[in-house]
């Protein structure tokens, strides 16, 4: 695979940085044509077609298969509310934020109310797109001119 990881973008010259951002934008534009019907994790259905199944998030890993976290969801708002409920349950069970469960629990209740009251999150979302879980420059390969040659590690 050509190119080397971006690592520190501060080390690029102004010309290389402009080239990097421009080619990144072009790749994102291409990716915006790949659409899905729900929020979740990609998987294959019985016929071998790519479909959307449970969300994958290793930050919620508490057991052999628990990093598959619910879903698919019909909105990001539903996803966040599900994640909040999962966190609240894990705190109550003594599995998450064990050093200060009370403050963590109350903070999650407060954020749940903020999500429920948030007008922007209540808007209808007709289509969904691939999201890189860690969009740092470490996962982007660049050539000498700064142009993007590969986007790596889209998986959790």
């Amino acid at each position: 695979m050509p190119g080397s990881p971006g690592h520190d973008l501060d080390e690029l010259s102004p010309q290389q940085l402009d080239r990097f951002i421009d080619t990144y934008a072009l790749e994102a534009i291409k990716l915006s044509s790949v659409k899905f019907a729900a929020v979740g994790g990609l998987c294959l259905d019985n016929a071998g077609a790519i479909t959307v199944g449970s969300l994958v998030d290793t930050r919620f890993c508490n057991g052999p298969d628990s990093n598959h976290l619910g879903g698919p969801f019909k909105s990001t708002r539903d996803q966040y509310l599900y994640q909040i409920e999962a966190c609240l349950s894990a705190i109550k069970a003594g599995m998450l934020f064990r050093l200060s469960p009370l403050r963590a629990y109350l903070a999650h209740l407060e954020v749940r109310d903020l999500i429920l009251d948030c007008a922007a999150l209540a808007e209808e979302e007709p289509e969904f797109y691939l999201k890189h879980p860690d969009g740092t420059a470490d996962n982007i390969l660049l050539d000498e001119s700064g142009a993007v040659t590969a986007l790596l590690d889209w998986e959790w």
Binding site: V39, V56, F60, L102, C118, Y129, K131
Partner: protein
């Protein structure tokens, strides 16, 4: 152009979260409540606009909600030594998720009082209070035990030195 992607491990999300400022473009200051766009985010907006994609430029301008929530989950900022970080990220969440609210900065003591009053009827709260109490007791025990152990270990080393065994 190459994309390296493993099926069963990649997620989908809404347009704003997918195309809003990626990590390489994000500033750190939004966790402290400063919502200004970074230089790289502004350049990305310009690039999208230059290529006729005002819709993707809009995503970069409006992605803070998702960036804050993405960072919120699983991030442990609830211990006493993370109070400053906790209060500033709470302030950022409040002002971004509810833009009309203009929340005032509060101390952790004020937050404690306000939040316990607000959620006193919550079903799970009693159980979590118990867990928290147990944790406090363990912590206070270790506050006594660990320094004592350190003092004893140091004294033992001194004794061994004096007795010429080291």
């Amino acid at each position: 152009m190459y994309y390296l992607l493993t099926l069963n491990r990649a997620n989908t999300t809404c347009k704003v979260a997918a195309f809003g400022g990626p990590r390489w473009a994000q500033p750190d200051h939004f966790w402290e409540g400063n919502m200004a766009l970074s230089e790289n985010e502004l350049k990305l907006i310009e690039a999208y606009e230059r290529h006729g994609r005002e819709d993707l430029a809009h995503c970069v301008r409006n992605a803070r909600i998702h960036q804050l929530l993405f960072g919120f989950f699983g991030h442990n900022m609830y211990t006493p030594w993370c109070t400053k970080e906790f209060l500033s990220s709470r302030h950022a969440m409040k002002s971004t998720l509810n833009p009309g609210s203009s929340p005032k900065a509060i101390t952790i003591q004020e937050w404690d009082i306000e939040i316990k009053r607000k959620y006193e009827g919550d079903e799970g709260l009693a159980m979590v209070r118990e867990l928290d109490q147990r944790q406090l007791e363990t912590r206070s025990r270790s506050d006594i035990v660990y320094p004592l152990q350190r003092v004893m270990r140091r004294s033992w080393k001194c004794c061994r030195k004096i007795m010429g065994r080291t």
